[in-house]
Symmetry: C2
């Protein structure tokens, strides 16, 4: 007999329960049905250990309750956190998540978009770098950190405000001469606004500042020489540094210590992202924290929202400052202020 070897189908359940196929379908989908029928069907389902086949469902309904997430990787802590929170936000809504690691590769990004569409996903969330990414009109797409035209909503932190906040914090903490260090994609994306925000903050608070901006290919060593050049008699000419990411801040702090500069006594450092080495531990440095859970929630909401017409082109979520050991203690700050 067939049903012995293969997984049971609705037909098997119907036969077992002695009812019609449609009745089983209704029971499965919670559509009202005669009490006695329902019981018999439920019993049969348990007996056969029946489970609906999502693929048949998806084919029928052309709705698959699946969303693809395109992200460079899951090892870099910020990405890892994003993946986790988006996964949770989706699972809460009974959606499944197809994870696609793109490794920053434009071709892979395009490939996975195609793959996702073959899979008839209900939507795609993407943190991508390919400036020419082709997306079918009929596949909802939400971008993270990069605007891809008015038809595609973009969700990001308020990077400009974050830059401003960093400048203001450094000013509050007593800095007068600061630097902005940046390395990363030269692509026009949202995180690039951190620079403008920082400049703006420096100007409004009367901080004198300098910038050192590298591109992705450039050697990190350029930062080392930049810093060395600004040391005179063992003293750095900056008393505050804003790094575009916590990752860079981490490296810069190591370099500063190698140069016999104390952090935060000689120079205070603020990063951006809000990375912790492990879950539940302290921040790796003083930092502007991105609201990752909120970003995740917003992406999923926008993606699954029915009325596509009212989708905003850009959503910026508020960031916060957090102490992480590389700026003056918050306590000493209170003393100074009061």
């Amino acid at each position: 007999m067939k049903s012995e070897h293969s997984v049971p189908t609705m037909k098997d359940v119907a036969k077992e329960a002695g009812v019609a196929l449609g009745t089983v379908s209704k029971v499965v989908n919670g559509i009202p049905v005669g009490e006695s029928y329902r019981l018999r069907v439920e019993e049969a389902i348990k007996k056969l250990n029946y489970q609906v086949n999502s693929y048949a469902q998806g084919l029928k309904a052309s709705k698959t309750y699946t969303v693809a997430l395109l992200i460079p990787n899951t090892e870099e802590p910020f990405f890892a956190s994003l993946v986790y929170h988006i996964n949770l936000a989706l699972l809460r809504r009974k959606y499944r998540m197809l994870l696609c690691s793109t490794d920053f590769d434009s071709d892979q990004e395009q490939e996975y978009v195609t793959m996702a569409q073959q899979n008839k996903v209900d939507g795609i969330i993407g943190l991508t770098y390919n400036p020419h990414l082709q997306i079918e009109e009929n596949t909802p797409f939400v971008a993270i950190d990069r605007s891809m035209g008015t038809k595609i909503p973009c969700v990001a932190s308020d990077n400009f405000a974050g830059g401003q906040l960093a400048a203001e914090k450094l000013a509050d903490l007593g800095c007068t001469n600061v630097a902005f260090l940046r390395i990363g994609s030269s692509l026009d994306n949202e995180p690039n606004k951190r620079k403008a925000g920082f400049e703006n903050g420096c100007l409004s608070r009367g901080l004198s500042y300098e910038m050192k901006i590298l591109n992705d290919g450039d050697a990190y060593e350029e930062f080392e020489s930049f810093l060395s050049e600004h040391i005179q008699d063992g003293k750095l000419s900056f008393d505050g540094i804003f790094c575009v990411t916590d990752r860079l801040a981490y490296l810069i702090i190591k370099t500063l210590r190698k140069l016999n500069l104390r952090v935060p006594e000689d120079v205070q450092v603020i990063g951006f992202d809000g990375i912790r080495p492990f879950q539940g531990t302290e921040y790796i440095c003083s930092t502007i924290v991105q609201p990752v859970p909120e970003i995740a929630e917003m992406c999923v909401n926008l993606l699954l929202q029915e009325n596509l017409s009212s989708k905003p082109p850009l959503v910026c979520l508020p960031v916060t400052y957090a102490y992480g050991g590389t700026t003056r203690e918050p306590d000493s700050l209170f003393i100074r202020i009061s």
Copy 2:
């Protein structure tokens, strides 16, 4: 007309190319077909921007090229790395990955197994904690770090050897009196063998050792008092500590420094896992490195292997020691030895 609004199907392509449905299917699947037909079909596919529907394929073939990964979360660095490498290993084989974050919750673990089976996944890879996880016979399953019976292969690092290696390294580095600190699941899983391996290593190298073992619920502070109790005149009675994970090592190192003990001068610390704060940066501490890429590859290989009969019950992969700043410099070691 219909094909204007919905996505094109094979039928649309057939009509466009003026050939039969079956012919299109053959072209799509690379089955030989008359040259002129093939060209016409390919042209029609491009013109309509046709893509095969994986859901219809999956329904027909009851093979979906999808694998589910059950893991507590993707934020903890070790899990994040595992997710990344498993994702790559699957994508290399043209398999898709369904990510399920379980948050260490037994009910969620069971729920996602059921969900995955409904999705007719071709297999499940799981790093789970539910001791009673029910898995359908016909769904291939590979476990990470925990044996779940002889029918389910388990892939793990060689945790016993790792524990041994830690003891041997500490001995090589000049330690004579060491401690083993552990916190974590009391469940019977592979990482628990680190303790036995360490004891074994200590015995064979004549190290005297002490153990402090906490369970998941216990307060971290117990380690602090344990360490405090072992300080006399500002000196710790251990010169080496092996922590069951890098995470714990990280916390312990912070505590040691708070107690005015220098690492590695006063006490050397070795962790386990091989965590880096960011991709491409140095290890967070001296550590026993788990071969994550190899674990990932092995899981995927075992899962997709055809002959289910020859699946080994337990595969242990070799670990390595890596210097990470919390043991004596490898250079000074060479000098000492030579």
